[in-house]
């Protein structure tokens, strides 16, 4: 069987076939990646369902699923609290937490569910975070969030930090506002896609047992990537909220 696969012409452009193809939907004049949207709806559905179950019968002494979701909530609260600070973190928990949960569930569903068994006309179902559109959307949301955080806190004075240290650093500050979403999106995208590719290629070569360690490593990477993304998002927000004010405070 393996010989057949190896000799088949499909194997030669296996990677291209996996990566480049999308299941296009036409929405008005625009095209969208259907496979990404489908899985993202499943992810959103899982999250909403889990939340609904966890909060359907809230008790003072948490039992079962409520307990589990409370653990998750306290985990994302911890991320936000560590990066933004005890005083300011509360309004940002839903944002940071939703990002974490969405990325985490996306990655894990992408790695755990045997999507290959579900045939779609073109491309294949996979983690939404393995698509550049998703990660750029997430990263741009983070950018918008930290600009909003900074501007709502200090008004236009937020931009004074760009020239505070030295006017010559202005280009660097501006550049950083572009590199932040770029690095955020490409880190997540690259990791998830690479993991999927490695697992896919290994499964193709040796279908049994050998890919397991890589799959487990992939699960680990997936969790870490979700953690990194949300931690960085929180840290950008925290930076925008307080960095400037604290420095001024120190000078006085």
């Amino acid at each position: 069987m393996i010989n057949q696969l190896l000799s088949s012409p499909q194997f030669a452009n296996f990677a291209a076939l996996e990566v480049g193809k999308h299941f296009y939907w036409q929405v008005g004049n625009f095209e969208v990646h259907g496979q990404v949207l489908i899985v993202s709806w499943i992810v959103i559905g899982v999250l909403v369902l889990a939340s609904a179950i966890a909060t359907s019968n809230i008790q003072r002494i948490p039992v079962g699923f409520q307990n589990f979701m409370e653990y998750g909530l306290e985990f994302v609260q911890g991320i936000a609290k560590d990066q933004i600070g005890e005083k300011e973190y509360r309004p940002w928990v839903p944002f940071v937490g939703s990002l974490f949960l969405f990325i985490f569930v996306s990655n894990w569903l992408g790695a755990l569910v045997p999507w290959k068994l579900i045939k779609i006309p073109e491309g294949e179902l996979a983690a939404p975070t393995g698509d550049i559109n998703t990660t750029v959307a997430l990263a741009l949301l983070v950018s918008a969030a930290y600009f909003y955080a900074g501007l709502s806190r200090k008004g236009l004075g937020y931009f004074s930090k760009y020239v505070q240290a030295s006017p010559f650093l202005l280009p660097l500050w501006v550049l950083e506002d572009f590199t932040k979403p770029l690095s955020l999106s490409f880190r997540l995208f690259g990791n998830i896609l690479a993991d999927e590719l490695v697992v896919g290629v290994l499964v193709l070569l040796v279908p049994l047992f050998v890919p397991l360690p890589v799959m487990i490593l992939g699960l680990f990477t997936s969790g870490i990537q979700a953690l990194i993304f949300s931690t960085l998002a929180a840290s950008y927000i925290g930076e925008a909220i307080e960095g400037h004010g604290e420095e001024e405070h120190e000078h006085h």
């Binding site: 625009f30 909530l73 939703s98 959307a137």
Partner: protein, 161 residues
């Protein structure tokens, strides 16, 4: 939804497009989806569970505060009890001492009184004895005189006369 009606499942050939960095309308749709997800999760997950956790923390905190209050109360009661016990002991000690001194005083007074009385009785008795002695002496003296005169008369007979 109207969005669904506009969906046309168009499977395009992969030669003309596709690839890793294929940006299209998926990006804004995904951004909107995430925003909706954040709003939904905020309402059905973050708010209620945060509230539940905060309520529980408050509950535990108030319980701890109440327990502390009760403990303090119990401790102050114990302290008060100790103080009262000490006071009572002190007062009982004082009462004992007072009673003892009173008893001592009464005893010594009574002894002194008895002594004085017995002294005066002794003095009286002595005076009585003295008086009786002197009376007896006087009687004796007269009797001695009479007797001696009688003896003299007897001896000398009528010479005396």
């Amino acid at each position: 939804m109207t969005l669904y009606s506009t969906f046309i499942l168009a499977v395009e050939s992969a030669e003309s497009k596709g690839g890793l960095f294929d940006f299209d309308a998926t990006l804004p749709i995904m951004a909107v989806q995430i925003l909706i997800l954040i709003v939904i999760l905020n309402n059905i997950f973050f708010k209620p569970l945060t509230k539940a956790i905060d309520d529980r923390n408050d509950y535990v905190r108030t319980n701890i505060a109440e327990a502390k209050e009760r403990l303090e109360k119990a401790e102050s009661l114990a302290k008060q009890y100790e103080v009262e016990l000490a006071e009572t002991r002190k007062s009982s000690q004082a009462m004992l001492l007072a009673a003892q001194s009173d008893a001592n005083k009464i005893r010594s007074e009574q002894i002194a009184a008895t002594l004085a009385e017995s002294q005066s009785q002794i003095v009286e008795a002595k005076a009585e004895i003295e008086k009786q002695k002197s009376e007896a002496m006087a009687v004796l003296d007269t009797q001695v005189d009479v007797l001696s005169r009688q003896i003299l008369e007897k001896l000398l007979g009528n010479l005396v006369k």
